[in-house]
Amino acid sequence: MAVRLKIHEITKSFPGVKALRGVSMDVMEGEVLAVIGENGAGKSTLMKILAGVQPPDSGELRWNDKPVSFSNTAESQACGISLIHQELNLAGNLSLAANIFLGREPHRFGWIDERAMHKEAAKYLEQVGLNVSTKTLAGELSIGQQQQVEIAKALSCNAKVLIMDEPTSSLSSGEAEKLFRLIVQLRERGVSVVYISHRLGEVARLADRVEVLRDGANAGRLNKQEINHQAMVRLMVGRELSQYFPHQAHPLRDVRLKVENLVVAGRVSHPVSFEVRGGEIVGMAGLVGAGRTEVLEALLGVRTALAGKVTVDGKSYTLGNPKAAIHAGLALVPEDRRHQGLMTPMSVEENLVVVSSDQRSRFGWLDRRGDRAAAQSQVEGLKIKTPHLQQTAAFLSGGNQQKIVFGKWILNKPKVLLLDEPTRGVDIGAKQEIYSLMEKLASEGVAILFVSSEMEEVLGMADRALVMHEGRITGELSRSQLSEEAIMELAVGGVAAH
């Protein structure tokens, strides 16, 4: 097989970080090359350089052994490279055909040739196995289908190298299966797929070769027969991970969180009831869209609960009022850190104290010294890596940002901690710290309820698991009953075999 794209000694710096320090790799014709690494390892930067979004500081790109350089995405596309972003970029109010040919519409005398456009678009949609009319509006499709449209768009640009950044992060497992089949088809047609993912299971299954990046440099490469979970983790973190999940059973205390017949507007239409005891870590498993996030949000009161009664330590609080929920002792680390967890343009300190500063304040006046001390205590206690307290939160890594979200709640001394995908977009080192933190809080008597789509996280951390399917709890598994198969069966709607 010939080398299609040669990446040679690429470097790139941003304010405060050297994102790439001389990365090299080859992309062969018709292969699936997985690029893995912790967050901040430089994967996204490298892909942006390949796609012409950013120029490299130094280094060389060779396409079919000829040097190339891209100053914008159009140039890299013309060369044959297409990038499919983690967040899809379709215009929801335009038809699929219009989306596929956006900016490249077939035209005659300045008029768009609609008929030719739809005909061509239909051809590419067929190639990616999407059976919908080209006149459908993009916004009406599911995320998985939109991704197929993006791939069709790339094919219409005659892409030879298709870069996919975390393509399964918001897909259901069924949709992901479809995507994997499509990737295999593309490979057979000679398209090279550069596959970026955190999900090592997918990588092991799909990749012909794996390139591992660490701290902006090559950390190693694995050929097909060498690819396994442990080898990848070892290269990513640079050390063996012993005791990945620090789980221990804690003595269970009294029931802290009691949910009775909760019905939530939107997804959770069947009454949901459960309990979490002090010192207990309960995992909430299920497929994306099963209604788990909705339950957590309704408990905090940021989503409307239509019915139900919730008590913390035997005392009920008004649903639909976050302030009351927080006062009752609830805390929620939300799924979407950038939009729900943090005020990214504000400082580390302001983010850390935003929940608890009203306890320190007097008659509405901020206790600035107290706030600073509180923020400092969390920066030290959680080992948040920041140059100073006034640093803008946006400049911190995902793991450190997540620690800030934890820290702001810990300062409020929660009784019940709700975690929604607590380790999403967080690198392996920080993941472990978060697991240890969950352990520590549980040992102090906090009741923890966490939603996770990572099966091994639920298996590794939960004392007990609740599984949801289409807005109802389909089963409950004790630690001894926990297995991937048992969870999956409940998650797709089956009944637990007791």
Partner: protein
């Protein structure tokens, strides 16, 4: 103080110095005072709208509300005559000269019978037996006698007659001010409720407000100008006066066009000297009295600054302006905060309407306050507020207002024809915002380069 505030201060200095270079008198005491006065009167609106802009909203109804609150102020004062049964005897009648040089009639009465005030009237029979009305222009006490000067020059009062006294009265000012402020805040509350509870867009809600309040002002006033006349003279006198003085460096040298600090006598071609033979120096530090509105603004600006930087409310406002969802997820009652911001904004507009009325002594229902919302928004943006919300500094906003007013006054001082006014102000604003963006990008690029080298 951040970089943006330094920039806006520099811009103000450049405008002032450039104008003074072309026309030194621009920095004379009185002109500096007029700059402070106008900055202050407009500054209340700017501070108010800054709170709303920080939430990511906008208030377009400010100008109309300024007009409406002025109208309500005058109407609620309800200036009218209240007849009394008191008969006042005329002791003597004499001619007198008014300040403007006009002739007037002065009547001497016994203060035990009545102590009339300016604008009170007396009814009596003139020498031909007709009933006439005289309006009091001025009063003066001397030797247990009261000298009442009438405004009407041809009034004919006979001595030893009786006059019937009508008092000119109005509702008590504190009550009226409280009512106007209450109405303004109620309007802000309605804005806030419509925006948060019914999720209407701030632009639309306040655009409707702009039309409605202007219309209401015209309806309530029957589209006639409303004046204060001589009512509240004491308050107005105080308001138009000055408070304490502060030393300002260098303005005297500039405004006198005399850059050598000593006074040059052109006739003797030598520096002027005092009796002891020392050269008379122009003071480098010029003491300039701050107009009362300036002091009021200073107080309110400090309160606003404390509110924004030292209280939970301010912290929450900035937080929700940055990310409303994250603020909600942190238990902040975002709706209440947003409503409070609109209440503050409308209250400031209402206050501004009251103060403009004191300053101008009258309200023109169809024009007072027109486009003030745009001045306020421009000043807030100049002062570092982002229309996306989440950032803003009170110092910046006040200086931003000063820049707007300085531009106006300098156009006057440079004798630029009126029609160019808006063109110049618009271009200057555009340049300022452009420079701000360009400088910011240069600074960032520099930082990046420096770090690329060391990293």
């Amino acid at each position: 103080m951040n970089l943006k505030n330094v920039g806006i201060f520099l811009l103000l200095a450049i405008i002032l110095l450039f104008t003074a270079w072309k026309n030194p008198a621009f920095l004379a005491d009185r002109n500096v005072q007029s700059l402070v006065r106008w900055t202050s009167l407009f500054g209340f609106c700017s501070i108010g709208v800054a709170f709303v802009i920080i939430t990511g909203g906008i208030d377009l109804s400010i100008g109309s509300l300024v007009g409406l609150s002025g109208c309500i102020l005058v109407l609620m004062l309800n200036q009218h005559y209240e007849p009394t049964d008191i008969q006042v005897g005329v002791v003597a009648v004499q001619k007198s000269t008014l300040r403007e040089g006009r002739e007037a009639v002065q009547v001497v009465i016994d203060p035990k019978e009545a102590v009339p005030k300016v604008d009170d009237t007396f009814r009596f029979q003139d020498m031909r037996g007709r009933e006439v009305v005289g309006t009091v222009y001025a009063t003066e006490m001397s030797n247990d006698q009261m000298f009442v000067t009438f405004r009407e020059p041809s009034l004919q009062v006979a001595p030893q007659t009786k006059m019937k006294w009508s008092k000119f009265v109005h509702r008590p000012l504190p009550l009226v001010i409280a009512a106007v402020m209450g109405i303004s805040m109620l309007i802000g509350l309605v804005h806030g409720l419509l925006i948060t509870k019914l999720r209407l867009q701030p632009f639309v809600v306040t655009l409707c407000g702009l039309l409605i309040y202007r219309g209401m002002a015209r309806v309530l006033s029957k589209d006639q100008p409303l004046g204060l006349g001589n009512t509240l003279d004491g308050v107005k006198q105080w308001f138009r006066g000055n408070g304490f003085s502060i030393p300002v460096p260098g303005v005297r040298w500039i405004s006198e066009g005399n850059w050598t600090p000593y006074v040059w006598d052109y006739s003797t071609k030598a520096y002027e000297r005092d009796a002891d033979g020392r050269a008379i120096a122009l003071d480098f530090w010029q003491w300039i009295a701050i107009p009362i509105p300036g002091i009021l603004l200073l107080i309110l600006a400090i309160v606003a600054w404390l509110l924004l930087t030292r209280t939970l409310f301010g912290r929450y406002l900035l937080a929700l302006g940055n990310n409303q969802q994250a603020a909600k997820f942190s238990g902040i009652r975002t709706d209440r905060m947003v409503i409070a911001a609109y209440v503050i904004c409308s209250a400031m507009a209402g206050l501004s309407g009251i103060l403009f009325t004191f300053d101008l002594n009258s309200v023109e229902p169809s024009s007072t306050g027109n486009v003030y919302e745009l001045y306020a928004i421009a000043a807030a943006v100049l002062g570092g507020c982002s229309l996306r919300g989440g950032t803003g500094s009170i110092v910046g906003v006040v200086v931003g207002t000063a820049v707007m007013r300085a531009l106006y006054l300098s156009i006057e001082a440079l004798s630029i024809p009126k029609p160019y006014e808006f063109v110049i102000i618009g271009l200057a604003l555009l340049l300022a915002v452009l420079a701000d963006e360009v400088v910011l990008r240069l600074v960032q690029a520099n930082k990046m380069r420096a770090q690329a080298k060391t990293g």
